[in-house]
Every structure is written in C-alpha cells, then in structure tokens.
Subunit: 278 residues, 6 copies
Amino acid sequence: MITPRTDHLIDLALEEDVAHGDLTSRAAFTDDHRSRAIIEAGHELIVSGAEVAARVFAKVDARMKVTSVAKEGTRLKRGGIALRVSGPTASILTAERTALNFLQRLSGIATLSRRFADAVMGTEVRVVDTRKTTPGFRALEKAAVAAGGCGNHRFDLGSGVLIKDNHIVACGGVKAAVTAAKARAPHPLRIEVEVTNLDELAEALDAGAEIVLLDNMTPAQVEVAAARAHGRGVLVEVSGGITLATIADYARAGADLISVGALTHSAPAVDIGLDVRA
Amino acid sequence: MITPRTDHLIDLALEEDVAHGDLTSRAAFTDDHRSRAIIEAGHELIVSGAEVAARVFAKVDARMKVTSVAKEGTRLKRGGIALRVSGPTASILTAERTALNFLQRLSGIATLSRRFADAVMGTEVRVVDTRKTTPGFRALEKAAVAAGGCGNHRFDLGSGVLIKDNHIVACGGVKAAVTAAKARAPHPLRIEVEVTNLDELAEALDAGAEIVLLDNMTPAQVEVAAARAHGRGVLVEVSGGITLATIADYARAGADLISVGALTHSAPAVDIGLDVRA
Amino acid sequence: MITPRTDHLIDLALEEDVAHGDLTSRAAFTDDHRSRAIIEAGHELIVSGAEVAARVFAKVDARMKVTSVAKEGTRLKRGGIALRVSGPTASILTAERTALNFLQRLSGIATLSRRFADAVMGTEVRVVDTRKTTPGFRALEKAAVAAGGCGNHRFDLGSGVLIKDNHIVACGGVKAAVTAAKARAPHPLRIEVEVTNLDELAEALDAGAEIVLLDNMTPAQVEVAAARAHGRGVLVEVSGGITLATIADYARAGADLISVGALTHSAPAVDIGLDVRA
Amino acid sequence: MITPRTDHLIDLALEEDVAHGDLTSRAAFTDDHRSRAIIEAGHELIVSGAEVAARVFAKVDARMKVTSVAKEGTRLKRGGIALRVSGPTASILTAERTALNFLQRLSGIATLSRRFADAVMGTEVRVVDTRKTTPGFRALEKAAVAAGGCGNHRFDLGSGVLIKDNHIVACGGVKAAVTAAKARAPHPLRIEVEVTNLDELAEALDAGAEIVLLDNMTPAQVEVAAARAHGRGVLVEVSGGITLATIADYARAGADLISVGALTHSAPAVDIGLDVRA
Amino acid sequence: MITPRTDHLIDLALEEDVAHGDLTSRAAFTDDHRSRAIIEAGHELIVSGAEVAARVFAKVDARMKVTSVAKEGTRLKRGGIALRVSGPTASILTAERTALNFLQRLSGIATLSRRFADAVMGTEVRVVDTRKTTPGFRALEKAAVAAGGCGNHRFDLGSGVLIKDNHIVACGGVKAAVTAAKARAPHPLRIEVEVTNLDELAEALDAGAEIVLLDNMTPAQVEVAAARAHGRGVLVEVSGGITLATIADYARAGADLISVGALTHSAPAVDIGLDVRA
Amino acid sequence: MITPRTDHLIDLALEEDVAHGDLTSRAAFTDDHRSRAIIEAGHELIVSGAEVAARVFAKVDARMKVTSVAKEGTRLKRGGIALRVSGPTASILTAERTALNFLQRLSGIATLSRRFADAVMGTEVRVVDTRKTTPGFRALEKAAVAAGGCGNHRFDLGSGVLIKDNHIVACGGVKAAVTAAKARAPHPLRIEVEVTNLDELAEALDAGAEIVLLDNMTPAQVEVAAARAHGRGVLVEVSGGITLATIADYARAGADLISVGALTHSAPAVDIGLDVRA
C-alpha cells in the first residue's frame, strides 16, 4: 500500500522537478510519440521501491502503462529489469529522474541490508534498523530494510519505549523510569532500557526492563551481559558502530538483535537506469 | 528561507515519528522539566541544515529557544557545536532524532562536496551537482552542495535544457532538437547537448549547442574535445563516474564543469549528536 | 504537542465554518472592539482539549491572548473555567463554535473515561480504549482517554499485533499466525490473540500468544480463562459490550485489561459554553 | 460528491491507522489471498456514509472492488447489508476499521435524526441541525442529518446571519445589528435574531428580523411568541435542550423549525461490522 | 482573517516563484544587509489585499517588520502608500513580486468596484458580484468587491439557490423546482429564479420565487418586470453584460440588485510598485 | 501534464464553491438524470486550459465522460467547441462554474497573447511574458501565453538572473553584481541586467551582462542601444508599458525580445459558456 504520506512525498518530488514542465522533452517529442522503456540494474542488487517508481510514472501521465514491477526484495543481476513502462515518450523522460531517485535510494538500502543479513546467516540474530531514516521516508526505508532481509525496530516514538541515560537521570533512576513508562505505554509494548556497562545492566534488570540495549560494548562484554539478561528472560539488543566486519562477532556473543543505523543513513545509491526503446 | 515545501517536509517527518506522541520522554519528564542541549560534531565536518534543525525544535514546542545556529558551510572540528537549544526536556528529546536526521544527511552532503571542491582547488573548474537528489530534498541538498563549496547545475526540468541521445533520435538529429529547444525555452537559458565522442561533439557544435556535456570520456579525450568546444566559445561539462581519485585529471584536461551525482545520492551521513545538559 | 496532523484538522474545521467569513460578527463589531471571554463548564466534567481550543483562537486572530488553559484531566465543577481569552470581540465569536466543538467532544470522552476508571478503582485492572475513534482524531481521543484516567491500547496497525479469527483461518491455525507475526513485527511488540472459548485459549497459549483477548465471555468464563493464561505468564484482556454496570464484575474475574469501544465512539458531548465579558 | 476536504479527511484517517502498515494482516495473508466481505447492521439503523466507506477501501488498495453501496438514508434491519467488497484479504482487513469508524458515526447521526423526524411526523415542523458538529465533518454530518429525514440549518458562518445577545449588546440594540447585517450579508439570506422572552421578541420584530430563534422557552411561551411572529410573516425556530420526549409539545406550539444540537454532537455510534467470507 | 485556504494559496504562490531560491538577490546582498521599503500606488486606486501582501513578506522572512498596512477600501492617490516594510534587503526583493501580484489584482477589483458603486450612487440599487472569480480567490475577491463599495452575491453553491432554465426543464417546471429547493435548502435562504421574459416572470412569481433574476432584459423591460415583482414583495436582480455606461439606466428602472461578472473576471490590474530605501 | 500544484489549485477552487454541496442542482435533478453538455466560445478566441477544465469535471464526479478537449492554442470561432462532456446532469452543473472560471481566464490570456504575437508577425522579435502572474497560476498562465504564440521569460527566481537598480546599488556597481551572480547561478543561465539609459548600458556590457533589459526607453533610444548590445553579442529585451499600438515600433527598433506584463495581469476573460443538452 502506498499511504497518503508517501503519495504526498511523490507529489513533492514531482513539484520540485517538473513544476514548470520539462523543456527538453516537450521540445523533442510531440505528444503522440510513444515508446517503451525499461529500468534495469547496473550491477547486482536487491530491489525496493519499484511500486513507488510505478506510481511516479502514472502520476506524470495517466496514459502510461506499467507492465511489470519487480516485487520487494527481488534480487536482480546486472541488466535485470525492475520495471517496464510504455507510453508517451516525453512523459517517460519527464518521470525518469524522479522514479530513479526513489528506486536507487530504496534499493541501495535493501542491497546493504541484504549484505548485513547474509553476514549473520545461520545464527538466530536479527539485524534491525533504527530511527535514523531520511525525513519523510520512514515507512519506505523500513520496508526497504525488510526487503533486504533485516528486521524493523520500532516505527516511531509511539510504538516502543526506549529509556536512555537522559531519561534515567531526570526520573531519579531506572526503576522510576520503567515504572512510569509501563503506566503510560500501551500494554502490547515491552519496555527497553539502554545500558553501557554491567552495573547499569543489573539495575535495568532489577527495575523490570523487558529488553536491554547494550550500547558500545565489545563482543566479550556482550557475551557476559547477554548471559545475565537471558537468565532473566530478557531480550538483548546491541548497537554502536557495528559493521559488516564486526557483526558476526556480536552475533556469536549472544545478542538477539543487532541494530545498525547505517542501513538507512549511509547506504550508497545503487546504479540503476532507464533505457528507452522506440 | 525555509520554503513552504521544506516546511511541509518537516511536517511529514514529525508526523512519521511523533504522530502518537513520545511515550518514553513524556513518561520520564514532567512538562515543566527544562534543559539546555547542544548538537555537536562527532568528527570534522561542514555544516548544512542547522536552520532546518532549528525549525524542527520550534515546531515540536513553541516554548523552545534556539540560541545559536551554525551558518551554512561552517567547518566544525570534533566537538564543535552546530546548534544550542533550551526548553522543556521532553520536547528536546522528542525533536532530537528528526532534527539530527536532517542535519546528518545535509552536512554529509556538504562535507563530501567540500572534499570534491578541495580536490580541484587552484583550477578554474567548478564541481557541480546533478538532479540525482533525494525526492523532496532538491532545494535542501542543492544548498548543502553550495555550502560545501561546489556549484549547482539546473534546479529542475524547467531551468535548463539538456538534450541527450534519447531526445536526439526522436527529433531527427541534434540540429532539430537544438532548434526546437531554443524556440521553446526561456531566452536566459543556454542549450546543453550530451555527447559521447568527437563526431557527436562536432554535430552538437554545428547545431548551435551552447554547452556540451562530455559523458564517460577519458581525460585524454576530454582534452581534445574541450579544445574544440572552447574554440567555438562553448562551455564544457564532463560527467560519468568521476571520483575524488580521478577528478584532478579531468580538471587539468580543460573541463569548465564537472558534475558528480554522488555528491547527493551517496554521501554518507556525518556523525553528529545531541547532548542534554540539565 | 499539537502535531502537524492535528494542526491540519483545525484548519479543516476553520475552513468548513469560516471560509467565507463570519457575517454576523463582522457586521456587529468593529475590528477594534475588544472583549474578554471564558469557556466554562455547564456541569461537572473532566477537561480534555483545552490546548487545541486555544490554538483555534490563535489561528483565527494572531492578536488573541489566551491567558489560561486547563490542563488535560482537570476536573471542573459547574461554572469551572477551561479557558480564558481576550482579544477582538468579532474574532472571539468567530472562533467560538470551532473551539467548543473540539472541547465538548474531547472532554466528553475524558469524562466518560473517568467514570469507567472510577468503576474499577481499587482493582489492578486497567480500562483501555480501542481503535474505534473518530477518523482524524486518533491522537486527540486517545489523549482524552488518558486524561480521564484510562489507558491506551495500540495506537495504530503498526504498533501492535492482534490476531483475530479472520487472520487465523487464512493462516492455517493460530500457531502459523503467531509465528508469522513474530517474524515480521518489531521485537518490542507482544503478540495478542483473540479467543472466544477455552479451546481457542488453549490453542493460543500453546502457539505462544503473549496477550490473550477474551471476547464476549461472561465474568465466570473470564475467571477460568484468566487463571489459565496467568499460569502461563500471559496478559489477559477482555472486551465485548462491557458497560459501567458490568465492568466491576469483569475486574473481579481477573482481567488485566478491559477494552471499551464506547469510550471513544459513543461518549456524549459535555455541556460547555463561551461567555463574553465586555 | 466526495469533496476534496472529505477526501483529505480520509487520508488523515488512513495515515493515523496505517502509516506504518498493518502488521497483523500482512503477516497472516499473502498478497494474492482474496476474499469477499460484507458490512452489515448489528441492529436496525439508517445508513449514512457508505460512499465514504467505499472510498476508504479503494484508497487502501486500487484492486478492491466495491460491488454494492447502500444509498444515503436506506433503512437496514439487523443483518442488512451496507456495503459489499471483494479484493485482497489483507487490504480488506487493513481498511476495515477506518471504513467502519466513518460508517458507525454517520449512520448513528442518521439513525438518531430519523427518530427525531418521526417524532414530529404529521406536523409541518422541520427538525434541523446546528453547527455543533465534529470538526472536519460538517458536510458529512449535515448530509447524515438529511439522510435521517431532518433538515439543515446554515452550513457555516457565511451562509446565514444569526444575531445573539452578544452581538446585540455591542451594536447598540437589535435594530442596529439587523441593519448592519442586511448591509453586509448577501441578499439571498434572511436575517435571524435570537430572543429569550417576549420583550426581546417585540424588539426583534420591530427591527426587521426575518426569522426569530426562541431560545429555552417552554412550549406555552413558544405558543404565544409564535403567534406574534407569524402575525408579522416571520419564521419561528425554537431551540434549547429539546429531546425526543419534549419535541412533540414544541411542534404543537407552532414552531416552524426546531434545532437540536444533539443530532450531531451526541448521537451514539451504531453497531455495524465487517464479515469476511473467503 | 486570513483563512487556512488563503494561507495555502500564498504558499502555492511562493513555491512557484521561490522554490529554488532567489539567485539574483542572494548574490547581490549579504544576509545582514537591511532596508526599508514602501509599496506605493502608481495612480489613484482603492486598496484591497494589503494584509495578504503583509503575510507574504512575513512568510519569506520571519525577521521582516511590517509597520503599516492600508485598510481594505482605502483610497490612495498616486504615490500613496499601501504598505511599509523593513528587514533583510534580499528577502524584501524575494517577496516583492508575489506580494504585488496579490495586491495589483485585488486592488484592481476594488478599484473597478468603486467605479460601479459610484455609478449608482444616490439610488437604492446595490451592485453585486457573481461566482465568476479566479479559482482559489473566491473569498479574497469577494472581499475586494466589498472594499470597493459593492455587495456580495452568494459565496458558493451551498449559500444560495438560483434556479435557471437548465434546472427548470428537468424538474418539470418552475413550481416543482422551487418546491424541491425549499425542501432541501436551509431555511435562512431565499429561493431565486432566473427569468428572461414576462411570461417566465409570472410563472416564477406564482411558483413562490423569493428573488427573481432578470437576465439580458432592456431597462424598459426591467421597469415593467420590477413593478410586477415588487407588487408581490419579491426582490429584483438584473444581470447580463451591464457596463459602466448602461448601469445607471438599469438602476433607474427599479432593480434592487445589479450583478456584474466583470467586477472579478475582467478587472485590469492596478499599477502598484515596491520602492526600496536603503 | 497537470502537476500536483495545479491539481491542488483545482481542489481549492472546488472547495470554495462546493464544500457544502450544490443546493440547486441536487434539488432539481435525481442522481440518475444524465445529460450531454458542450462548452462553446461566445466569440472568436484562442483556447487554453481545456485540459484543466476536463479535470474539474472528472473530480466532481468520476462517472463523468469527457469526450473531446480542444488542444492548447486552438482557434475557435463563435460557437466553436472547447469541451464535450456527458454524465449526471447535477454534476455537470455543479462543475460548470469552476471549469469555466479556469477556461475564461486562461483563454483570455491566450487570446490576448495571440494579438500581441500577430502584431510583430514577420519580425524576429519574440514577445514574452513576465512574473506578473496570478498567484498559484504561474505554470498555467505561462502555458496560456505559449498557447497564444508568445514566449516565456524565466519561470521563477531560480531559473534566471535579472539584476535591477536595487541590486546594483547594494553591490557596489554592476560589475560586482554580475560577478556575484555568475558565481552563484547554475551555468546554463545567462545573466541579465536592467538599464534605463546608454551610460548604464555601457556599464552593463563592460561588466559582462549576457542579456540587457532596456526599461522604459523610446523606440529611438532602443534602436541605438540595441545596436551597441548586438555589437557585443548581447541579447536585447525591452519592456515598460508596451501596448498593441506601440509594439511594432519597438520590434522595428531592433529588440530581440519584448516583455509585456499585461499578457497575464490584465487580460480580460473571454466569453465562454456551457450548454446542457438533455
């Protein structure tokens, strides 16, 4: 489903590129000049966002036909096709850049997520995203992460409770913070507490934390901490600059979840282009 | 100026994170608990987007005071301060992630642009961006590029004419395409034509191109092509996978402009964080 | 915090009432005629929405001063004051109805919620709302429920998992549904399953349900079911036409949570009015 | 016609429920699992809003087919069908609550309006609504009132003039207020004046009022007042806490119109539900 | 009051002019270069829209100070001042054109309306506008007409009933149409019927029309028709290509109202400009 | 292409006219009463905006069929048809005025533009528009100008640089202003400088102006100035109160471009109407 907010984002994107028309394409093509076009991968990648790209074409020209759309998570080889469209040539070219701008970013996130998911393959760890997403793209980027085989952490500040140092200090300790959160949060939510060492971990467990987030610990520290948390039936998430090079160590250390901000904030765009075939 | 569209984007970003409130912060802090906070650099970087971040705080809570905002293009060392705010603690924490999500991306673009601009320092070349921007962020990302010392190419499909292969074929040759574009485009615009070899270059120059875009040529090829174009008083832009490693060679080859899509589509986020001080 | 969506809703409300101006007030008052006004309770009630009402006045006329706003959850006697404003008389009257329309509905929900919360006072049960809210008012109405002393169930379809009969059938049984949901849902979420008898309860517990929703059972049935669920460390929610007359029985039967759709879908408006004092 | 504003309201409603997707339904059903569903009455009721509900389904998934939609004002028995849809099962369940939230409220208003209209059946009185509507729902709720057989009072502050005490005081008397209003208001509008006793009535009639609103009078008082007003060719509206128990007395007393705020501000939701049939 | 819709229109106007910034002003002025500026009349005119123009400046830069704003309907001589602003010079110039575009159009309408109002001065006729307004500008243009001394006809299709030939035919005659409209329209509205000759007039009067619109009649015909309508206590409006040259004749013929579409659809812009004073 | 902004403008226009429905048409016609209708010219004119008008009908009622739409720039004789629609009669009449309001304005601009274009026929001059457009209508009105055979000047403040007196003073002379602009503006843009006499012209040419705008000069002065500018390879635009009576003289004087604000700010509406055929 393309929600109203995503629809809105597409409108913003078209406005910023086409508010005053496409001088080049309208000069080069008469309105009845038709073409077919494909969007194809420049290298191996995982597709995300093809449905959004399809909507971009449809918005530019209602006469456009989108005849195939790669499903979320499809793996394409170099030359693999993400989308096929046909319609007025000028409109295809007008829509091209906006459609690709969505696709190259979202597929970039899916592709990087796939690499992280593959890096822990065979373990029970789930790699998850964070709230470090592009403003306006939360739902799309979280879907791209899932398309790449990783999991989603909470979607927003209302669908999870994560108590950090800043919260604890003001509340007069972890216990007070956890208690206040349980009184306020919907009952389907587990309360998560961030800790940076074993003392804080003990405090969090005693306070009734239902998930602990181990921040910036070494794999060795995680191993000790995870054992203690699991002994209390508590889920263990780790975070803090974890890369493709180090993630397997953290997985082996007993984490249930590893959260990686880079999945969304620093995934490079994939190389994907449109090719017109008269 | 924060345009209505950017204002809108901030609204989308707040909605997607705070539509149902911030369970954690509202549990931890009473409404009259106040703090000061700074946003500081985790490593050396060029700031862009601090004004947008300031607007995020103001939107979350009208009682928020923003007491300093780093200007576009400011260079910060590790620990340098991009923003100072004070106000209700819960509101600071509610706004934190959205403000940082703008700042880390825009400053990431400015920081990468600075590296590209530095790489051609001392030459007369201008490194410019492309339309490969995040949907909805065209104006913000182009401003970030400028903050990093690079230049802007056309803003949208109405503020420049760039004739590519696809356009030429349908039009019956470069000459027809250039003529049609001149008849349609506002007179302040120079007509640009993309070419991939010297034959196409000759054709473009004969057709009356006012800028030529040399795509995917080697520096040696650019040197020959640029000399011919300059002999006709025509500006020379080069593009196609140019990196920090290769850009100096292209600059020396005589290009007037070098366009780099990666400035906006693949700049990694900078490390920048918020620190609350009760 | 008044989110962008609520701000938007206020705009819709003003447009539908004042798009073509307020003929009566503009005829009766010159622009410089000033007044003070209060909004006061017509009977005992719990206030919710006074901040929204204040925003309505501010939007109608930037010269308006709102000098006091009752906090969410304040109990007012007949004649108690929810809001004090002063400013141009015509603008006060233009804003009056829209401000009251928000206030009478939200305070109606808070007042009814208070009655339900009072009815289980002394037990450990939490009365919670549902998603049966007025379209566009989800956040405001859930806040009104909280202002009245009840709790909130999930805010939306992304902040909780609730598996019902319809879901189970298609999935090939409870176990498959619970497993699929756990694989997809963010880890902070507990999985809830709706059951209507003890057989279904047993199945849900075996499948790994973390919350069970007992639908349309009698208090006696709830007592048995709750004991079994608690024996597995599972939370118990009950629902289905529970009223002020019957809720205490359900509370005594061992429910942890009782959800009541009527809190939001059928709360009568409170009687609250504006009084101008020249 | 679903106006842009109503369309907007549907978008707000979907955003607040589905911005981050429907975790449960997407887990339980593959995208190609199809069903048929009906929306049926839980008790006898008058339908309003079925077209809006249909639009909700269409917005959630363009593949949805709505095969029947009950007309505004249709009377359904228990089990009667307001809507039939077919399409992807997950999408039906995603849309369900939002569609029902519109339908239960609007049909609630229509059903209550029908009871009021029936209570004065056989007289020439018209029961009408007020501006005490849910913010953003003015057009929908006024249509629901009409669907229930009652009439509409003015739609907004620009489509009617209603002079109350507050207006009169500032203007220096009824005569000045009526004159000012006639000079400003479009000529198709009759000027209405609110009065609370016979002295004020006399003053209003002398001032040129074209409609009088008798506020909070007893039926006996209305009888006297109405006779005087009718003697001057002036329409008579009565208001003020009139209920199903008392309305017939007011009708007999000679009122032309009886306005009832409760039609829109306190109508309980009807019981109406969705039933999936694989 | 600037309604949300007008605020929205200002946003559209700024977006279409400044979405990518103001290249010229930002190049010429540093951000701390300040100026004062006035907006002054190029010839005698009636001001309308100065408040909207002030809002434009405020939106472009929150540091802008607007120190005087001419009231709606003010008559300015050549050189008279409609607005004074001071603030960052670049921002003044960025806002200039958008502010003037509102002001020149709305003041153009007010100025033309003043000429029409003056042309019937001394008679009891009211010159009124129509719904032939610029899309999106209904409220602003109707206010401009009032600022020029003319009156407003109905604001929209919900605040008046005007039965034309097209309506009558389908309804089976005037009587059926009037009856149906009375049953549906809010009671404060008088029913208006368009007629083109005396036979139709007689029919309309018999059917219960409360206003008649005499379309495209000569002044002599109007004289006869008006007498008959007035004899039945019915208001008389005339329309159809009435100009400054012919309007006095129609006024003398006994019309109560003369509607003139040209007030809004063909008023030439006034000459009004901005002058910067460093 | 109807951009999101134009779509938005249509929504604003429908909201302001139909937010509360069309009382007259809904009273006169049942929902299944169907008609055909044409929109036809009342005098000879050039069509612009027929596609927008078609969209208006489609938005009012999805059952509407638009069977022919005159292309931009079509010349119609009196009685010529701009649009044919068929569908529910009430919906046709509801949409009528909004559709015509777009069409009469845009065709008015196209028709006036055609007269200006014809007045310089046979010369090489291009008549162009300005930024003096109706707020929100920039793209539509510039398209109407083009439909009438004239050209477009820059679309917005980001697609052209035009340095005026105000800019020059603050910058310390023309040279500084031109240099600053070239450093900032995208390279496809030529820098334009406004001059009012030959001294300023010399200064502008020396500073590197690429286009000069001769403001308020006589044809004789233009002749001298144009010769000098052309000698430097610089384009010459003239402006300042040029009318149909004087434009040929300016064309003969050697201008390349003549800009005329009246094309958009003072074009009278054309006479165009809708005719229903049962």
